[in-house]
């Protein structure tokens, strides 16, 4: 494999890994607060549809982004209502909302545009276009580093940079702020938070709302940056891969970056059978690469690659009085 191919694959990895990263960080907030969320997929999908539709209608991608975030937030709040206020089963709520999102996005897009559940193709200001980072053109000629900077690091839409920025921000928020301390505590032992005089409900709703925000960006990235419009089921299971990455990352931000980029790399490689064949020397079915993130996650869950211990209070509604 030559350097150019490597760069192309890395470039592709970043593009494909970005929505995973955003969704994975989204899940991190919710699950760290003790609310399991297998509804990342649905939130992303809803956001993709809303952002694509509004961007198509207004021609303004920023309005689209806002709409995507709003749609995702609505789903997040319903999940919060079910799992925080009404102490419902968080897993079932997540499954249910995924179904609702899968159907309702097509219903709405079809009624708005009549194009088989797709939005019209987005162009110009209705889309997040790649941005060239400073000096990218100038340093292009510098050996090794130059092409890396130009091809891989530069030239992504703004949302991708936001996603990468979200990693240190999340880390800082989680480990260096009051909010993070409380968030981590409420996912481990809500009674400790409660007796310390902090509202468990408030914290959990805040976490779920952040999840909605990040899933909203992830969905908008799919529809208005990676692609030029929404198509039915366009998230194609990325929410579940993000969930897998979250487990694989053991609910930590930097590891989430690693895991999502690893899974993004798998996706990028699956598109380059020639490269894999070149490296491995044998033809590896692309289905095997598609399945790899899931297999790795099962191994992580089984404790074969370090024990993945979820937040202790995860999945359980906080009930004080029986």
């Amino acid at each position: 494999m030559d350097y150019a191919t490597l760069l192309q694959i890395l470039d592709s990895t970043i593009r494909l890994g970005t929505p995973l990263l955003l969704a994975c960080l989204a899940g991190l907030y919710s699950e760290r607060s003790g609310i399991f969320d297998i509804g990342l997929e649905g939130k992303m999908l809803a956001a993709a549809m809303a952002s694509g539709a509004v961007a198509a209608l207004t021609g303004n991608v920023w309005l689209g982004l806002l709409a995507g975030i709003a749609a995702s937030m609505i789903f997040a709040l319903i999940h919060g209502l079910a799992s925080i206020t009404f102490r419902g089963n968080q897993l079932i709520s997540g499954v249910a909302l995924n179904f609702v999102a899968s159907g309702i996005t097509v219903l709405i897009a079809q009624s708005l545009f009549g194009q088989g559940g797709r939005t019209p193709p987005l162009e110009g200001a209705a889309r997040f276009n790649p941005i060239t980072l400073p000096f990218a053109e100038q340093v292009q000629g510098v050996p090794v580093i130059g092409p890396l900077y130009y091809e891989v690091i530069s030239g992504h839409p703004i949302l991708a940079y936001i996603a990468f920025l979200a990693v240190p921000v999340t880390w800082w928020l989680l480990y260096r702020t009051r909010f993070g301390l409380r968030l981590r505590a409420v996912g481990e032992n809500p009674a400790a938070v409660d007796t310390a005089g902090i509202s468990v409900t408030g914290l959990r709703y805040a976490a779920v709302a952040i999840t909605g925000l990040l899933c909203g960006i992830a969905g908008a990235y799919m529809a208005t940056a990676l692609q030029a419009g929404f198509g039915r089921e366009m998230t194609a299971g990325r929410g579940y891969i993000a969930l897998a990455a979250l487990i694989f990352a053991k609910w930590r931000p930097w590891q989430a970056l690693m895991a999502t980029m690893l899974f993004g790399l798998f996706q990028a490689l699956a598109l380059r059978p020639d490269v894999i064949e070149g490296i491995a020397g044998i033809k590896i079915p692309s289905a095997a690469l598609d399945a790899l993130p899931y297999v790795l996650t099962v191994l992580a869950l089984a404790g074969f690659v370090g024990k993945a211990t979820p937040p202790r209070a995860g999945g359980e509604p906080y009930v004080k009085e029986r």
Binding site: R178, L181, R182, A185, N189, A191, A192, T195, G197, K320
Partner: protein
């Protein structure tokens, strides 16, 4: 700031020497009336003890004071000022700190993080942490509460975890400190240390409420003591004016000693022999520290003791629910204590019955009907099978109906769910199941907890009848009169060990009470009083 306005208001109000006054506090959990019209006043700068049987409502009362639960009725005065405490934040602001019976610590946080949680200053954590680190060093020094601020909670011993809880309260500048059964989990040395700390806190003018089951601690440490029974406050006395005996009486109530018509025991061969039984809990704390005894056919061995001294672990280990080490033989056959065969099914097949302490958690499946519950553990029995494949539900139902008649379960409806029976009748379902299975040895835990007097008498008669039928019985109870009236031999359990055996004919409640509090030298007339 909040404290200032409080002080200001207090100046105009009648100055009060009470740090806390509770007036008419009531609290129900669904059908359970945990607190009923409680009144209590705690003078500032004193240590106030609260004692009471399990489930008397002590923790509930304190949780209300700390804003964890909301009272259904009643009033709280802090330093003479009526104060509403809707949540713990308000309690903390009012200067109250609480160390819960079950610690409220985040297990994978450091000590420092736990202490800062909820009392952070500003959004960024670093300043809070470094400030807390300094304050913590001062507090540790002042009260001899040494803990490594960077240690992870789950790596700490229970005693150290408790120190963290106390430090948490002190860091929030608590003037009133509530400790709910703080010594239940401590070694004697740790407990001594705790009481030294409490003394120095008191010397600083802080007010302390101490919940405990151990009379020795009450006598040693407190100024006043309140006694609770079944959700009500029965008395508050000055500690120096009372004695352990009097308190024990108040706690249990002036119950008529039920006279169980019981002939002399006719002990036969040894049925169960236990040698050096040891149990570790999940935190690797040794809860049973080498227990040995024998029970013969036709005798009742009573185990007295305050809850939490290893009785539950003893029953669980014998009943095959908990892993243990040591050796146990039943009718000469060794019983596996861990690994395959260490389960309830094998025990039952070997002839061991088990009435568990907690009927609602272990003994019954609350959503199952009475008839389903009456087969629990015996569902493999041949008499309950129609053929190789199917269970004979009709037979179980008929059997249950018969048992319900014999044991006077009300209402005698086999298809009613267990949760819809009253506590006493739930217990009768369990007792009927285990006794009617005709075991060679029956383990019994708290057979009459929460059961009315009529039913108590009935259950007691059944136990004696079983003994007279030549069965061996291990009876664990926190009710001393129950132990005294049923047992042929009595052992007291304290801190995971048996404190020697007594003869019910020659011992008395006083002696047993002292043994239960860990006082072995019971010969001195005033033993147990503060030295």
């Amino acid at each position: 700031m909040v404290e200032k306005t409080d002080v200001g208001r207090q100046a105009t109000a009648a100055p009060s020497s009470y740090a806390i006054e509770l007036k008419g506090i009531s609290k129900a959990f669904g059908p359970v009336q945990a607190n009923r019209d409680i009144n209590i006043a705690v003078p500032r700068g004193t240590i106030h003890g609260i004692i009471g049987e399990n489930g008397a409502g002590k923790s509930t009362l304190m949780s209300i004071l700390y804003g964890f639960y909301k009272a259904d009725a009643g009033e709280i005065l802090i330093n003479g000022t009526p104060t509403t405490i809707p949540d713990s934040q308000s309690a903390i602001r009012a200067g109250i700190g609480m160390v819960f019976q079950h610690f409220k610590l985040v297990q994978n946080f450091t000590v420092l993080e736990n202490i800062v949680l909820g009392a952070e200053e500003g959004f960024a954590l670093n300043t809070s942490l470094s400030k807390a680190r300094k304050a913590l060093a001062d507090l540790s020094h002042e009260y001899e509460l040494n803990v490594d601020p960077d240690a992870i909670i789950e790596d700490l011993s229970v005693g150290h975890q408790q120190r963290v809880e106390i430090l948490k309260a002190l860091y929030r500048q608590a003037e009133i400190l509530i400790l709910d059964e703080p010594t239940g989990v401590l070694t004697p040395a740790e407990a001594d240390h705790l009481f030294r700390i409490l003394a120095s806190l008191k010397a600083q003018g802080k007010t302390i409420i101490l919940i405990t089951h151990k009379l020795r601690e009450i006598m040693e440490a407190t100024d006043h003591v309140s006694v609770m029974r079944r959700g009500t406050m029965v008395a508050t006395v000055k500690t120096t004016d009372s004695s352990p005996e009097q308190l024990a009486e108040l706690m249990v109530g002036r119950k008529v000693l039920l006279d169980v018509a019981k002939g002399p025991a006719n002990p036969g061969p040894v049925v169960l022999s236990v040698e050096n039984l040891r149990v570790q809990d999940e935190q690797k704390v040794e809860r049973l520290k080498g227990v040995s005894f024998e029970i013969r056919a036709g005798e009742v061995l009573g185990i007295a003791g305050v809850a939490g001294n290893g009785q539950s672990e003893l029953l669980a280990a014998l009943g095959g629910i908990q892993k243990a080490t040591g050796s146990v033989t039943l009718k000469g056959q060794p019983l596996p204590l861990s690994g395959p065969g260490a389960d309830g099914r094998t025990r039952r097949e070997a002839g061991m019955g088990h009435i568990p302490e907690d009927r609602q958690l272990l003994g019954l499946i609350m959503d199952f009907t009475a008839w389903e519950n009456s087969a629990l553990g015996y569902h493999n029995a041949a008499k309950y099978q129609k053929n190789l494949l199917l269970m004979d539900n009709t037979a179980i139902r008929a059997d249950t109906e018969a048992k319900m008649a014999t044991f006077d379960v009300r209402p005698p409806i086999p298809s009613l769910a267990a949760k819809n029976f009253s506590g006493g009748n739930q217990q009768k379902i369990v007792v009927a199941r285990e006794i009617e299975s005709n075991p060679d040895i029956l383990l019994i835990g708290q057979p009459t907890r929460g059961v009315d007097i009529g039913a108590i008498e009935f259950i007691h008669k059944q136990i004696i009848a079983l003994r007279d039928a030549g069965k061996a019985i291990l009876l664990v109870s926190v009710e001393l009169d129950e132990i005294l009236s049923l047992s042929d031999r009595i052992a007291v359990m304290f801190d995971g060990q048996l404190m020697g055996f007594r003869d019910p004919e020659t011992t008395n409640e006083r002696e047993l009470g002292l043994l239960m509090a860990g006082v072995t030298d019971t010969s001195k007339p005033d033993a147990g009083k503060a030295a």
